[in-house]
């Protein structure tokens, strides 16, 4: 009886340690690789779009998008929710806008393009943001334990928005509130030769 109990305990401990290694080490490495792969695919699709004549390789909008994607690829290993929260706390939004205002440069760069090209490039940009937010949420298993709490807060916030008849979508709120910082940082590091 005692022997079988010890065996069960040992079995449980080994399984738990295996799960710990799987989630915190193996999955973490995989998620960075998958994130980079998604960004590489996006960058290749952007390249193909330029190759087929959608936009010139020399156009500022192409350069801006490519540099930002490069920033995400280069620093994918550091792109965690912990890093993001500390950066949100420590970096002043104004400083980031001074050195690399992605949204402003984006608006300026697409101003001379036709409607169809702008639409295609906006799709590329939205895809880049979706890949980034997916990695931010899923790429840091150490923070998964707090997600139920965050989900509850989001539900309460959405109920409050519905109650006060504020109809702006949750995604556009998240995009406008948080993504300028993320895009600015990625653009800044993507275009800098050293960092």
């Amino acid at each position: 009886m005692l022997g079988s109990t010890i065996f069960t305990v040992a079995y449980s401990v080994v399984s738990l340690l295996g799960l710990w290694y799987l989630v915190f080490w193996l999955y973490r490495g995989y998620s960075v690789d998958a994130f980079r792969q998604d960004m590489f695919d996006l960058r290749d699709d952007l390249f193909d779009a330029a190759r087929t004549g959608l936009i010139s390789f020399d156009h500022p909008a192409y350069g801006l998008l490519r540099s930002t994607i490069n920033g995400f690829i280069r620093f994918g290993h550091r792109f965690t929710i912990g890093q993001f929260l500390f950066m949100m706390l420590l970096i002043k939004r104004k400083d980031l806008e001074t050195i690399a205002d992605f949204d402003q440069e984006w608006d300026e760069s697409i101003s001379d393009l036709n409607q169809n090209t702008v639409h295609c490039l906006e799709n590329f940009k939205a895809r880049m943001d979706r890949i980034a937010i997916k990695q931010l949420i899923m790429g840091t298993p150490e923070f998964w334990v707090v997600y139920p709490l965050i989900s509850l807060c989001i539900c309460l916030w959405l109920l409050w928005r519905i109650g006060t008849r504020q109809t702006a979508s949750f995604w556009s709120f998240v995009r406008n509130r948080f993504f300028p910082e993320i895009d600015n940082a990625a653009y800044f590091y993507g275009r800098s030769k050293e960092a």
Partner: protein, 133 residues
């Protein structure tokens, strides 16, 4: 020609780089605290369970009830096995995606060298079905 940065831009850049450095130093610390705390909890309950079985009565009652439960133990083993299989399958898929991405290189090379020869592997870097026959 790249324009020269203003004093304000250089100052802001300096502050951003400094703050990023601090964030990059703090984030791994927070992540490692969570990560290793998990390992310590597992190790503690494992040790405490054995200590409890050896006759010592400690806080381990919770640990022993949890870890010596056959259903929980089996569930953890299934979770580990299932998680490992999912991980392996996804790694394999990722490897094929990368191989598929690298197929672009032959396409671009063929534009420069039309006489370029090929290994004729199937998409994803897998054996060509015709070569299996």
């Amino acid at each position: 020609v790249e324009r020269k940065k203003t004093y304000e831009e250089l100052e802001a850049e300096n502050r951003v780089l400094r703050s990023t450095g601090v964030a990059m130093a703090l984030a791994p610390v927070a992540i490692n605290i969570v990560r290793w705390a998990g390992a310590c909890v597992i190790a503690y309950f494992g040790y405490a369970s054995i200590a409890s079985l050896a006759g010592k009565t400690t806080l381990s009652a919770i640990g022993i009830n949890f870890l010596s439960n056959v259903t929980i133990s089996n569930s953890l083993a299934w979770l580990l096995g299932g998680g490992g299989i999912i991980f392996g399958v996804r790694q394999r898929r990722l490897r094929r995606q990368i191989a598929r991405r690298l197929e672009r290189i032959p396409q671009l090379e063929a534009a420069i060298d039309p006489g370029r020869t090929s290994s004729r592997l199937a998409p994803g870097g897998v054996t060509n079905p015709k070569d299996r026959e």
